[in-house]
Amino acid sequence: MSAKSNSDGDETGQPTNVLLLTSAVDGCEAAACRELSETTHPSRSHVILATGLQSPRERLADWEDDVGVRPAETTVVDLATATRSAAASTASTGETPTGPTGPDGVDRWADATVERVAEGDLLGLGETLDAALTGSDRPTTLCVRSVSDLLQSADVETVFRFLEALTRGVDRAGGVAHYHLNTDVHDAETVETLAVLFDAVVGLNDREGADV
């Protein structure tokens, strides 16, 4: 459980780094994300939510809707994007936790840590994610949503190199991670090039399920 091997997947055959292919017409994204987020029960986990297009507030609200279970520890790593700041300029300012408030008006995510990284700063993103991955004694689950957002601010080759380093870091930290990629907005060649980096690929029309 605690010591994962430093190569692809661990001894139990559980893949460490999974690429999750999504599409607007598919509709399974939430369910797949939930399943991949629950390899260790979230109530015992440190869950790291890396978000691009969505603000931390929206991201936490989605977690609440899709998974429901409060993680023992939550970190949101926010890669602000230009698209979002144009779309929702008021949503995510300041360092205060930004979770949805419950019916009683109490901020349910007051204990979540929010880390911000400037758009396009992949080095800063890597360092921030690495600190989060290695910063807790709990089993750690990382959800990156999404690789498509990364591809808005960097070319595919740069994102490929970044993801090689990140998947390596997840392996090292003994965590598990999955990475959303919206196939509606990338050509098949981009998707297949990136797929090489992962232990498994799931999603979309039962695309090849494993071991790329």
Partner: protein
């Protein structure tokens, strides 16, 4: 990394020479004291191709694309110029040979080795810096192959051969990257050409 400090380092040298990750990489030693430059070159020659220079102008003339690591005493008069050319280079790392009593070193250096030089510390530093360069080199080849694979049709007979080469490259990346810390890995992966 190695906790047993072997001053003249026979066993450490033998171990490092066995590493494919850094074999044959070119190291330039720049120090205005020829005796120091030669000593450092001797300590490294069993795993690397070593060149030495002892004057500022020579240093600038010696900066070429073969180099993986430059070790340089920052008191050399052309240091600024050399750093301008080498800092954040994708294919080369530069370490300061820090003179006794000089603690402040330009932050563009990727590493530092204190004088008088400990041979084990020297070799450990050069090994890490060479690995950073090798890791990125392997990563660039990995991307090229992944892209080549993605460009082929499902039934293309070349796929199997490329998949095998990708497996070999993954092993190479693991072997090269394993001793590096994550900051070094991200730095190597994200430097811009």
């Amino acid at each position: 990394m190695t906790s047993n400090d072997t001053p003249q380092g026979g066993s450490v040298t033998a171990f490092r020479r066995g590493s494919d990750a850094t074999a044959g990489q070119v190291v330039l030693v720049a120090d205005d004291d020829p005796a120091v430059a030669d000593e450092i070159a001797d300590a490294l020659q069993e795993g690397y191709v070593v060149r030495t220079v002892t004057a500022g102008e020579e240093l600038l003339a010696a900066l070429d694309e073969d180099l993986s690591v430059v070790l340089l005493d920052p008191r050399l008069p052309t240091t600024e110029n050399a750093l301008d050319r080498l800092a954040a280079d994708v294919d080369c790392r530069v370490a300061a040979l820090v003179p006794d009593g000089h603690d402040a070193v330009d932050e563009r250096f990727d590493g530092r080795v204190r004088k008088p030089v400990s041979w084990s510390a020297l070799r450990a530093t050069v090994d890490r810096l060479c690995r950073c360069v090798s890791y990125r080199d392997a990563l660039d080849r990995y991307f090229d192959l992944a892209q080549a694979l993605a460009g082929l049709d499902e039934g293309d007979p070349q796929r199997e051969r490329i998949a095998e080469r990708l497996d070999a490259l993954e092993a190479e990346l693991d072997e090269t990257g394993a001793p590096l810390d994550s900051g070094e890995v991200y730095d190597a992966a994200l430097r811009e050409r």
